[in-house]
Amino acid sequence: MGKKRKHAEASEAPKEEVAQDRPKRTLLGWKDGVPEKQNSSPVFRNREKVLVTCSRRITYRYRHLMLNVVSLLPHCKKDSKVESKESKGATLNELIELRNYSSCLFFECRKQKDLYLWMVKCPSGPSVKFLVNAVHTMEELKLTGNHLKGSRPILTFSSNFDKEPRWKLIKEMIVQIFGTPKDHRKVKPFHDHVFVFSIVDGHIWFRNYQISVPHNETDKVDRGGLDKMTLVEVGPRFCLNPIKIFGSSFGGPTFYENPFYISPNQIRALEKKKAGKYSKKVKAKTRRKMHELSNPLEPDEFADLWKD
């Protein structure tokens, strides 16, 4: 298996130059006017192919989220589950190389609770590990929106994606992975949904909206028609918290580490420690003492009535 060529290289491949020279044939002979539109800029062809898979023992919600993502990306392939072990990276790399994928979304579920998402550019690209929060699948969100399966989404990014190198990198990866290639065979030729990627509070929030334009306006879209446009949410919803960015696919040197990240395990452990029985009792005792000190009893006027 040869390495996948870079896009820039692919565009300058000599093969295409040769193909260009040949005039087009019609039924009656050679066509004279060969369209020469490509010579201004090299041909760019997006050959994105995304592997979507998950770890074993994933819970149903996260699995449904994965299936939702699969239904949103016509250029992806779903594969069988992978054991979530140390060697998962090697396994996945092998799989990716075997099938010639150019990127991968790996949903890793740990302890039946926490979902991590690996967003990987293959074979040499960086990989980002996210913690996925606030997961809502399409099924559980009873939202009224719906859109064509396989129509190309419009990707909207909040402007703070361009502020820092890490966000820039993540944005580029999202554009490549979540954007559907233009001439993909499963693509439908209309645009009726829009993805929102927005950074709020250091997390990337994802939303998916249907674009609904009143029907009579569709034939003659003018400014008026666009003004009447509304959006209806389709789902799913999730929120990505970047943990680490690695240099190569599923591993390699760490380029970025989220300094604010605290793993859910740590949070749970601390919670448990804090919520222990003993500490609760101690706290109750001190609270009682404070209460008694702050509200002293009035001296009893009949206290020494029967003393004699």
């Binding site: 565009s11 800029s41 090299p42 760019f44 997006n46 550019k121 690209g125 606030a134 809502h136 399409m138 009873k142 939202l143 009224t144 719906n146 859109h147 064509l148 399966k149 396989g150 419009i154 990707l155 909207t156 402007s159 703070n160 994606f161 361009d162 190198p165 890490r166 490549q176 290639p181 209309f190 645009h191 009726d192 829009v194 929102v196 927005s198 709020v200 509070d201 250091g202 909206y209 334009v213 569709t218 666009l226 446009m229 959006l231 209806v232 389709v234 919803r237 240099g247 760490t254 380029f255 970025y256 580490e257 300094p259 604010f260 949070i267 601390l270 804090k274 919520a275 609760k280 609270r287």
Partner: protein, 305 residues
């Protein structure tokens, strides 16, 4: 409205780095493990020194900007590719959105999406590419028909719930009103009755004062039993069956259940007619030994012997 309504429970589930952390600590300090009030904790947690330490960034965190940018250059698409390949729109965010305010957050996302879509559509339009789905273009959708049916069902159920609640409320109010109206009516009726009696009394007094002058015949006939005209007359009505001991005053029909019961009892125990004939022996009953146990009788006889 529908979407936003759904968005509400999110913030409680969002485990946001420091926030959840702070929440738990504060909660325990206050000692009320049960009731969680988010806003309160948010506002209080700001001043606590312990939590500041927790949400402080880790010092040894790696952030290799050069390597990141290099990698970005590595994977990036060529700069001069047409926009149609990317379909990306950037949206300038005016101000920071509060993450825990669900409505504000969702609104921010919505405006971003709407604004982005407008820009994108303008670009597409300027390119002259058809981009909107014609109404007669049918193809597979992301959500199946079964799913959409469920969604519709849920909407209908919610609508019905609201309607039912409104109806109940209306009925309650109507009942209250009806009660008042009824009370007023009875009051009025009592008043009228009193007035009638008063007027009759007045009239009698007048007649007495005038010395029972024979003016109008009808009035004279009426006078003896005028007082009893308000009560039911005890006289037997005409056309009443002689067996009816109530003299035709018993309500006809009565309530359905009671009548049925009566009929049943009469069929069972008999009603009217002579009872004597039923209790006398006949030739048949005399010869019928069904009621006796012959064997037992003879056995006891033998024992005695």
């Amino acid at each position: 409205m529908f979407q936003f309504g759904l968005a509400l429970p999110i913030s409680n589930m969002v485990a946001l780095r420091g926030k959840e952390f702070q929440l738990n600590e504060k909660e325990l300090e206050d000692g009320n493990v049960g009731g969680v009030d988010d806003e309160e904790f948010e506002s209080e947690s700001e001043s606590d020194p312990e939590e500041v330490a927790v949400s402080e960034p880790a010092k040894n965190a790696v952030y290799n900007k050069e390597a990141l940018l290099e990698k970005l250059d590595d994977i990036a698409w060529p700069q001069n590719i047409e926009w149609i390949h990317k379909l990306t729109v950037d949206h300038a965010v005016e101000q920071e959105v509060d993450v825990n305010d669900d409505l504000a957050r969702e609104l921010a996302f919505y405006t971003q999406a709407l604004d982005g879509t407008r820009q994108a559509f303008e670009k597409l339009q300027s390119m002259g590419i058809p981009f909107l789905r014609p109404p007669d273009y049918y193809a597979e959708m992301v959500k199946s028909d079964a799913h959409m049916l469920k969604v519709k069902g849920k909407l209908l159920v919610e609508k019905k719930k609201i309607e039912d609640a409104e109806e109940r409320k209306k009925a309650r109010e109507a009942k209250k009103l009806a009660k008042e109206v009824q009370a007023q009516k009875t009051k009025e009726r009592a008043k009228r009755k009193k007035e009638d009696i008063e007027s009759v009394k007045r009239w009698r007094k007048q007649r007495q004062q005038s010395g029972f002058a024979r003016g109008k015949d009808e009035e004279l006939d009426l006078s003896p039993d005028e007082e009893k005209s308000f009560e039911k007359s005890k006289k037997r009505r005409t056309g009443v069956a002689p067996a009816d001991r109530s003299g035709g005053f018993k309500r006809k029909g009565g309530n359905e259940k009671g009548r049925k019961q009566r009929e049943f009892r009469e069929a069972k125990f008999g009603h009217g007619g002579r009872k004597g004939m039923k209790k006398q022996n006949t030739a048949e009953s005399t010869n019928d030994f069904k009621g006796f146990n012959k064997d037992e009788f003879s056995a006891s006889k033998r024992k005695k012997k």
